[in-house]
Symmetry: C2
Subunit: 325 residues, 2 copies
Amino acid sequence: MAVYTALGAESLAELIAAYDVGELVSAKGIAEGVSNSNWLIETRGRDGAGARFILTMYERRIDTAELPFFLDLLDHLAAKGCAVPATIHDRSGDSLRDVAGKAVALIAFLPGVSPSVPTPDQARAVGEALARVHLAARDFPGQRRDRLDPAANLAALERCGADRLAAIDPALPEALALARDITPRWPVELPRSIIHSDLFPDNVLMLGKRVTGLIDFYFACEGMMAYDLAVTHAAWAFRDGGATFSPGIGAALVSGYEAVRQLEPEERAALPVLAQGACLRFTASRAEDWLDTPAQAQVSRKDPMDFLRRWQFYRANGAAAFADG
Amino acid sequence: MAVYTALGAESLAELIAAYDVGELVSAKGIAEGVSNSNWLIETRGRDGAGARFILTMYERRIDTAELPFFLDLLDHLAAKGCAVPATIHDRSGDSLRDVAGKAVALIAFLPGVSPSVPTPDQARAVGEALARVHLAARDFPGQRRDRLDPAANLAALERCGADRLAAIDPALPEALALARDITPRWPVELPRSIIHSDLFPDNVLMLGKRVTGLIDFYFACEGMMAYDLAVTHAAWAFRDGGATFSPGIGAALVSGYEAVRQLEPEERAALPVLAQGACLRFTASRAEDWLDTPAQAQVSRKDPMDFLRRWQFYRANGAAAFADG
């Protein structure tokens, strides 16, 4: 949550002039994105009626060689009518530019707010929107493999080590045994597409029950579509730091998804292990971030226990976690 | 530069519904303000055509008992045609509300960007806008005394102490002697009004040469108008961390001011000592902040030397620093 780079008004105006969007009218650094700087930009618009955009400057964690994958994916999905922001191409046709040695992209602004207490109607709409992305992305030619599969996540937990995990929470080392149990059971033959793989409520914009935007595709990669649904289930269907399951949210999410794309029997059967794999991933990444972040830092750390609790729920409940509401 | 409080979409929508501005459409936390959280809010507007606002949540450093002074001042100035954002009153007529135990205000959004390399034309327009505020505020009934007069700033430097000042920069303890030299020479009988007293380029929005908004009035208080002009001079007319004076900027600022409100001879004669008092103030506040902020903190510290250099310039140049361009 920061703007890492100061961009003067004059540099911003010069950058915006490279696009056919009208003159710069306003620029506010926004407190979103942990690895990018972002500005909400207003211009006069091509017709003088005003237009808004998100300007993203890529700072760290993101390999700039991969940016064309992410930006082309947005354009591919937007062109097929998915609720994602299209990129704005500059007067030379490029969606990436360089400012002060850093890559930047201008991206459509979408209205909407991220629900923090989602309703079943909202979860259903998100399931539908996710399925539409999966179908629309099947013929996307870009390639990016998943770096965060269970083997990689288990290796990350092992790098943390039982002692340091126990220092975060005495119960956390159990994640190591759970992770070793998942990797041999991990499915590999399920239907694939490009998946978002990080569709937390923060990454969804809504107006009431309507999804106006899925955003932040910087974890998108080739993967199993049912895994993406399981990630979204784990991200949306719990309250109280993972201690309370919301069956109505989970059921609405899956049913919305299936209203657009029916799961195959093998996918449905795999949901419990896929959801545990999702919990492994976020437990591991949060544990790593926790150990990397000094306790005094002003950056808030996310508790890995939130996902160990979900993990235990999915293990205990199996297919019942995905039963109809 | 932060959003200190997480406000869920549902709480935000409920808050916005208390105002007659149409339904909430978008809310982005913006990276502005060191003592407040701020969001750029978009609503459908009263007429459905859309409207934008800044929502400010007062977090710390600001005494909430003083908020009516600041908000009423904005309304007073905006009603007189000054380029400042008016506050939005809720359906009960109040400009302050309470959310989660914190005071919030909804304020008009103004277009414009803050110049980082100002031109003389821009400085002239800022001088004019400042003089208009001084004239418009003369009949404002609110009262707030200046907490940051030279005696208070000298006391702050003395609390830092020569040793700790020297640890920031070996030259910095000189500020103590300079400050003791200013206090007996400080004028008290100059014409007064409500002054902004913090009009750095960050606090001015412009479109080209036009001032679209003076913002961040949270240091406003009763004071000498010429002191406010001197603060603005010190804030605008230097480059390179205070090492280089820009005479064209300084002259344009004063001449713009005088195009709207002629300085009295006593005011003009006092500008050199007033500017040194402004430098004392920012040297002291930056030194205090520097010593209060751990070097490892992600909050950027401002170098107090930037204003000691200006101070030395004003001492060395006297009235020549304010000569016509």
